[in-house]
Amino acid sequence: MFFKMISLLSLQVLFLNTACFSANTNFISDEEQRVNNLNAVLMCPVCPGESIDQSQNEIAMNMRTIVKDFVEDGRSEDEIKDYFVKRYGPVILLEPAGSGISLYAWIIPPVGLGFAFIIVVIAVNMMRRRQNVTALDNAYGLSEESITEDEKERYFSVIDRISKE
């Protein structure tokens, strides 16, 4: 059974991999790939939030042409990004840069992660130490210790019977 399971899963994996693999062979040139990558990280200046890759706007189309020309000229990715940043300001980059105000965008998530971790540690510690339970939870002041072995024996047989009904 165990081996059947493994073979089943392997089949599935093989299927997935061929799917990606078939798409992975170089259908498009490196240049085209670079153009696509750049288009995806440059924002269309008049349709905020959309990349020039997504946008059907004329400005976006023009920018796509510029990117294509620059890549064909052999300019590097950073050079092209710089060109647009100079023209439109750092706003044009969809991915916040690692400097200036944009740095905060990157700093907050790891800080949040750290904060979450601390919260979990504190919460777990609090929960490990049993808290004072409220009156209802502790009806008649009963706790696990307040049940004697005799009572346990008597109750357990009843519970056992009922739970197997």
């Binding site: 008649y140 357990f156 519970i159």
Partner: protein, 124 residues
């Protein structure tokens, strides 16, 4: 015309709002079980303890937990269920003594006007 329509439409919610108060539909029914009562709470805990037991049983039969974990889980849930039963027992005894007290008072007030109920027969 519009005024007439307005009146006709407003009759529906008016009736729906007034009817329960005039007819006292809720007061005439028996008082529903209180979902926050001690008994309801114990019932929930009883169910979750038994659910835990069944779950442990399932995990064991399926082979997800080893013997020692299973015994521990079983013990824990059994104890939880036992606590519910004990609490219930105490509450029943409380109730018993309460009834006894009341009936004693009743006897003092008028020894013959308090008919013996079936319950009291059992108590005696």
């Amino acid at each position: 015309m519009l005024v007439l329509a307005a009146i006709i439409i407003s009759v529906v919610p008016a009736i729906l709002i007034a009817y329960p108060i005039i007819k006292k539909i809720a007061s005439n029914k028996s008082i529903p079980d209180d979902e926050s009562s001690l008994y309801a709470d114990l019932e929930r805990r009883w169910e979750s303890a038994l659910e835990g037991l069944r779950h442990a049983e399932l995990e064991m039969s399926v082979g997800n937990v080893d013997e020692s974990d299973y015994l521990w889980l079983k013990q824990v849930h059994m104890t939880e269920a036992a606590m519910v039963l004990k609490a219930l027992e105490i509450s029943v005894e409380d109730e018993k003594s309460l009834i006894e007290q009341i009936s004693k008072v009743a006897e003092i007030v008028s020894p013959n006007s308090f008919p013996e109920s079936d319950q009291q027969k059992d108590l005696n």
